[in-house]
Assembly symmetry: C2
Homo-oligomer: 206 residues x 2
DNA sequence: CATAGTTTGTGTATGTGAACGCAAGTATTA
DNA sequence: TAATACTTGCGTTCACATACACAAACTATG
């Protein structure tokens, strides 16, 4: 492991590789070449090899990559080799979709707490977790949760984020549009669906 | 307008600017400087000026940018100055969230058709549109719809995309994980929630 | 054991985007 | 009108990411 200076783009691609590897593993494959993996994902083979080389290289020349080993190594790099407990704030349509999303478990995430401010929802059980009042966010610190999914309207996103950070949350996946201010040591990744959508017409012919 | 060679990253940022401008307009502001807009969004002022300069520059030196004019210009660049009818394929949790998402209208999108393969859902009305059987996708061509949101499981994503492209869809916003093959003239933007999530632990301290 | 055929790992060239600085234009004030 | 303060537009420099080529390492085969 060199970890010398890993490009952000490489980190962005690692989860993609992971997803593809699971698929191949399920299919019964044992090893895969950079070429095979590349055309499965839709990128160039040398891109894949270069990405892995930042961490020392996981393959065997003349053979390829052992899928199981490679999976483990990538998980280790991304710190996904331990279970991460996450909290969901905002159990609206989007929040429900997140709860039902099958992909999270694969990556080692477990939604261990849900919060909402709608009295009608509070107390109901969904997917095995009881929806709590947002005021209970401050109990999170003791529950070993340091990741949160923010699926609330823009107007309350900053407040919710502040509360989460207060109790030790270090990473936030935010679905609300707009910019929020957070301390440097907190990582926020924003998915703005409408904004992704808005780029489509530009690239469409006609 | 020079349109000489616009970086993809610039196009990626334009919707963000649009979102911020709406907010400022609602607040009652009339003009905004690159510095003001920058700190509102969380980027550098020269980034914003550079981005606009690719299109010829919309501001007035010593004053700033007229918010209303700027909004119109950005919409024109992104081809958002006309209403785009879109189809939703897959009315699961995520599909419902998309339907309920308030942001789309702002950008000029209208979900004009919904499809699912669940007999229990077909025929029911949601947000003003009736859910149709996926076999009805082939009627889309006559309805002037050339954009689609794909919120189906990975296993049927390729098939659904093929069907959509057959009837003239040119742009797809895909939520399913995995890679799909499409003709060059079709633009696919993928949002893989789990994958975005998977990057978080890497950037978190501890 | 030698040879042919694969496939990785990585140094380098090329391309693309971000950061910066500054001239040029605009408003304001005296 | 002149001077000052402000803000844009854009050329240039620097940093990062991709594309590529090729030596090194491994397998298979006769």
């Amino acid at each position: 492991m060199r970890y010398y200076k890993v490009p952000g783009e490489t980190i962005r691609r690692l989860p993609t590789y992971l997803g593809a590897l699971w698929f191949l593993l399920e299919k019964g494959d044992v090893t895969v070449s950079s070429t095979g993996l590349a055309e499965f994902i839709g990128v160039n083979p040398w891109q894949i090899r270069k990405d892995f080389s930042y961490f020392g290289g996981f393959g065997k020349r003349g053979v390829g990559y052992d899928i199981e080993t490679l999976t483990k190594e990538i998980k280790k790099i991304l710190k996904l080799d331990v279970i991460h407990k996450a909290a969901l704030v905002g159990v609206g349509n989007l929040g429900l979709a997140v709860l039902a999303y099958p992909g999270f478990k694969n990556y080692g995430f477990e939604i261990a707490a849900c919060f909402d401010n709608d009295p009608k929802k509070i107390g109901t059980r969904i997917n095995g977790t009881i929806i709590e009042d947002v005021s209970k966010i401050r109990t999170l610190g003791k529950r070993g949760i340091n990741i949160a999914v923010l699926a609330v309207p823009r107007s309350v996103a900053q407040q919710a984020a502040d509360d989460l950070i207060d109790v030790g949350v270090k990473g936030i996946l935010k679905f609300s549009p707009g910019y929020i201010t957070v301390p440097k040591k907190v990582k926020v990744i924003t998915i703005d669906i409408a904004m992704a959508f808005a780029r489509l017409p530009y690239y469409m012919p006609g």
